[in-house]
């Protein structure tokens, strides 16, 4: 009677492993073990992720941005040598994308960073504490996270305007919309 029991146990184990393998998000490994922590001590997020203030996608920094500090080659860490090896061959660092929104969601970094001045960490999590690149997004975002923040946005009061709030900024605040059309199109 032990035979079928063992077979069932093995089958169950295989099934569980299969489910884990298929359903769990795969870990992402980056070509360079980039420490956000060290960089954020000296720089702002948008100093390297420059496109966050210019368009919908924040993107990963270009080699040019890295070399504006690292070009001297004085660094002696293994990771910096990897960076310079890419640079010598005239290549960009093949960073892999970690954060991805579903294709029916249209999010603009520019509006949130420049106009609303939302902190990067409120969606991306405590990136500034990381010594190595994250294998997965630090936060799993759902529509409720977006809506919760958007619902907090209130229209301008007359007081604000008397205090000298610019009319355009007042308009911007009024437009913190929970209308479906704003993000889904």
């Amino acid at each position: 009677m032990r035979g079928p029991g063992v077979v069932a146990l093995i089958a169950l184990g295989l099934l569980a492993w299969g489910a884990w393998y298929l359903l769990a998000e795969p870990a992402i490994s980056q070509p360079i073990q980039f420490p956000h922590k060290k960089h954020v001590e000296l720089l702002e997020c948008t100093d390297c992720h420059t496109r966050a203030t210019k368009g919908p996608v924040a993107g990963r920094p270009s080699m040019e941005t890295c070399l504006s500090c690292h070009s001297s080659g004085e660094g002696n860490s293994v990771e910096e040598k990897k960076l310079l090896a890419f640079a010598e061959r005239g290549l960009e660092v093949p960073w892999k994308r970690v954060w991805r929104l579903p294709s029916h969601v249209f999010f603009s970094h520019r509006t949130h960073v420049v106009v609303a001045k939302v902190k990067c960490q409120s969606c991306h999590g405590p990136m500034e504490t990381l010594d190595r690149p994250p294998a997965r997004p630090l936060k799993t975002l759902s529509m409720n996270d977006c809506i919760a923040c958007h619902e907090k946005g209130v229209g301008p009061s007359e007081e604000d305007e008397q205090k000298g709030a610019k009319p355009v900024e007042a308009v911007a605040r009024r437009r913190i919309s929970t209308d479906c059309n704003v993000c889904h199109r």
Binding site: H104, K166, E169, C180
Partner: protein
Amino acid sequence: MALWGMVIDLDRCTGCQACVMACKAENNVPAVGPKEASRERIISWMQVLTEEDKEHPDGKLRFLPRPCLHCDDPPCTKVCPVYATYRDPEGIVAQIYARCIGCRFCMAACPYNAKYFNWHTYQKEGPGQNPDVSVRQKGIVEKCTFCHHRLQKARERALAEHREIEPGEYVPACAEACPARAIVFGDLSDPSSEVSKLARSPRAFRLQEELGTKPKVIYLTEGEARG
């Protein structure tokens, strides 16, 4: 708050179909292929309807470009069981693809046949498509959105530059493409805008006005009233 509307001058329209093609390219509208087309499953958010004069069959054809009319009192939104189609605060009748369950009630309710169903997966995401508009999947309804993504982009630009949207900054692809300048787009709530002035003209009429749908696409013609 703006109330977006469109005026189409039928006396200027030459039936060239530039608006149709501009719309297809802008909004990732799929080509369904001949087999599906023969089953009357063509998707074309903007359509140039033709009208023949029955008494003079050799005479000129008359053209009527028909986008979604973005009714101010839309019949389609009232039958949607999942709030996938609704009139947004600025008067645009929205279609939220992620919410749509494909019941097609809205298609039955629309008196202008402005809604289209994806019977199959007609296209997948790929290069050459407009990244600002989603690629619709099988089993959902789609329609003209007044190029609503362009409004979002114009608004984003204006906000980042700390100013208001200027008139003419947000124009749908069809109006932009029309070589005869038959399509005028703008804010109907502003009485001094070009669309408002044209909408008040004695040449103006709306399609099937008697239904009470209050379309925000207004037609102009010198000829006898149609619709």
